[in-house]
């Protein structure tokens, strides 16, 4: 047990370092701007009034470290600064767009784990048979396809040709749960890549585990096949999969940005992309910190769970 505790402590330390690094990296962005940041951010219309407004809004005449300390202290209080284009607080952007993104992510993860594990176990159980070969080739093929390409093709087939589902979420505002039809294609596109990687990992882990001496031994003792599969073999097969699941979060974040753009869902990804287009640095920074910290925390959780499932595996920390 003390092994687990010291592992968690070391892993927490790395997590804290990662959060600090994310904050520093995001802040360094404005410092990296060549020349006068306010002039660069004003972009195509270098109107003196706008440049002055940006300069005061971002307090560019104060030394960088003072701004960093202020900004970081604000982050702790939930104060993310104000937008350059609209003057609204960044926190308002976050709370306003949080719902749809959380809904998409939660639905995806809720479907991802049972589908991925179920298909992986199924393929491993019938290794080499038709089910296995079918799942293996389909997952391999879909695994690498970018969401936007898959998305437009699905829209063309299911919304345009067949007319079964709406092509975008336009006109439904943030209340997407009331129109479940709108969610089908976005969640399907978001699921595609993570499911494929999860299925492949669970399948590989499960095949290894089922061929191991301890499974053979348990079967010799007369323990039932299902019990051996799900209580003995599955936890070992899941350890590498849980870690991959954390990496999938990186994909999910990328995917959410793309899918929200594609299906016009008013979530965090849409806000982020809009802010990138308008060079609204405080909004981009605020969103980047939120996305970055969420990734760090979820990675941490996945590592701890993976360690708990297979303590011998020695997760890097």
């Amino acid at each position: 047990m003390s092994g687990l505790r010291s592992f968690v402590a070391r892993r927490l330390l790395l997590g804290v370092a990662q959060v600090v690094a994310v904050v520093l990296l995001v802040f360094a962005l404005t410092e990296a701007l060549p020349g006068d940041a306010a002039v660069v951010l004003a972009g195509d219309q270098p109107d003196p009034a706008r440049i002055e407004a940006i300069r005061t809004a971002m307090e560019l005449d104060r030394p960088a470290w003072e701004r960093l300390v202020d900004w970081a202290a604000g982050l702790l209080r939930g104060d993310f600064g104000t937008s350059l284009t609209s003057g609204r607080p960044v926190a308002q952007y976050l709370t306003g767009a949080f719902g749809p993104t959380l809904l998409l992510a939660a639905l995806t993860v809720a479907l991802l784990v049972p589908t991925g594990v179920g298909l992986g176990v199924l393929a491993a159980r019938y290794e080499g048979r038709l089910v296995d070969r079918l799942t293996s080739s389909v997952t391999l093929a879909v695994y690498a396809v970018p969401e936007f390409a898959l998305g437009v093709l699905l829209v063309t087939v299911f919304a345009l040709r067949l007319g079964w589902l709406p092509p975008t979420a336009v006109g439904h505002g943030t209340d997407l749960l009331a129109h479940p039809g709108v969610l089908v294609l976005p969640v399907l596109v978001l699921l595609a890549r993570p499911v494929c990687s999860l299925v492949r990992l669970v399948r590989a882990g499960m095949i290894d585990a089922l061929a191991s001496p301890y499974v053979a031994h348990a079967l010799r003792y007369g323990v039932s096949g299902a019990r051996v599969r799900y209580l003995h073999a599955l936890p070992h097969a899941l350890a590498p999969a849980v870690q991959q699941l954390a990496r999938t979060i990186d994909w999910l974040l990328c995917g959410v940005v793309v899918v929200e753009t594609l299906f016009v869902v008013p979530g965090l990804g849409t806000v982020l992309l809009g802010a990138v287009g308008e060079r609204d640095v405080p909004v981009v920074q605020g969103l980047a910190v939120v996305f970055g910290v969420v990734t760090v925390v979820l990675n941490l959780g996945a590592d701890v769970i993976a360690h708990r499932l297979a303590p011998r595996a020695g997760v890097a920390a």
Binding site: L29, L140, A144, F148, A149, V258, R279, A316
Partner: protein
């Protein structure tokens, strides 16, 4: 055996179409046909119709693959070139401080989602194709360097390396001549899988408007810009989207089949050694 060979052939066939179009398209394309109304559905000289500003879709398709393929190849090569020395030194140095200084920052960087990093930089710099290749390479370095280090550490613990060290061979000879050479297979395999990920990132970034002009002839940009006319003129979206799917899927199938072949032999050798 047959399954693997089959997948190899399938992957090669699937990837050939987009790669040939990407590399030879600009040579094969004739003069661009005159502009017409936007989103017309084929006919009168426009085989696949016209796009959002009335340009010929077929002509754009022929020109649109080169940027994706070349940017991805350059980014993969660059990531490997940077990761190799970093990982090698990290594994073979005898000074713990050097190892920590090289590897720890990479551990920390791994936490930042790759697309987020690209969007962050795009906010302030508006990178072109070269900038995008650099960015994607940087995003890939931490992971690649960790793999190099893990592989090199494993090889450096083998008896052969100890024997070389006892013989008094120089650090360079051991690092480059033995460890580096023994790693080549693993590195080639990693570069293959990495290329698939890089293709994904490059195409997605272009779709989101990073690294390509808004009116560029680029398959991902075409998908994005012609989406508004999907109901009137689906070809302008479907054809480039299908080419991107073929490119990424084919690359993945091809490298997976190739890796399978290589993945077997070292295991077999090790069994024989023991």
């Amino acid at each position: 055996m047959r399954g693997r060979a089959g997948r190899f052939v399938l992957g090669a066939v699937v990837v050939t179409v987009p790669v040939v179009i990407a590399l030879l398209g600009p040579v094969l394309a004739a003069e661009p046909p005159a502009r017409a109304a936007s989103f017309t559905e084929g006919g009168d000289g426009h085989r696949l119709g016209t796009d959002f500003v009335g340009r010929d879709v077929w002509y754009q398709v022929l020109h649109g693959g080169r940027s994706v393929v070349l940017t991805a190849l350059a980014a993969t090569a660059l990531a490997c070139l940077v990761a190799l020395p970093v990982g090698l030194v990290g594994a073979l140095t005898h000074r713990r401080l050097v190892e920590e200084l090289l590897m720890r920052p990479l551990d920390v960087l791994l936490a930042v989602p790759s697309l987020l990093m690209i969007l962050l930089v795009a906010t302030v710099f508006a990178p072109g194709a070269v900038g995008l290749a650099l960015l994607v390479a940087v995003v890939n370095v931490p992971d690649a360097a960790r793999l190099v280090r893990a592989t090199a550490t494993e090889i450096a613990a083998r008896p052969a390396v100890e024997a070389l060290r006892l013989q008094g061979e120089t650090w360079w000879r051991i690092a480059v001549g033995h460890v580096g050479r023994s790693m080549l297979r693993t590195l080639a395999a990693d570069a293959g899988t990495r290329l698939t990920g890089v293709l994904y990132l490059v195409a997605t970034a272009a779709f989101l408007g990073v690294g390509a002009a808004p009116d560029a002839a680029d398959w991902a940009v075409m998908v994005d810009r012609n989406r508004t006319g999907l109901f009137v003129q689906p070809w302008a979206v479907v054809v480039p989207a299908l080419l991107i799917v073929a490119l990424t899927t084919g690359t993945n199938l091809l490298f997976d089949a190739a890796l399978d072949k290589r993945g077997r032999s070292p295991k077999g050798e090790r069994v024989r050694e023991a």
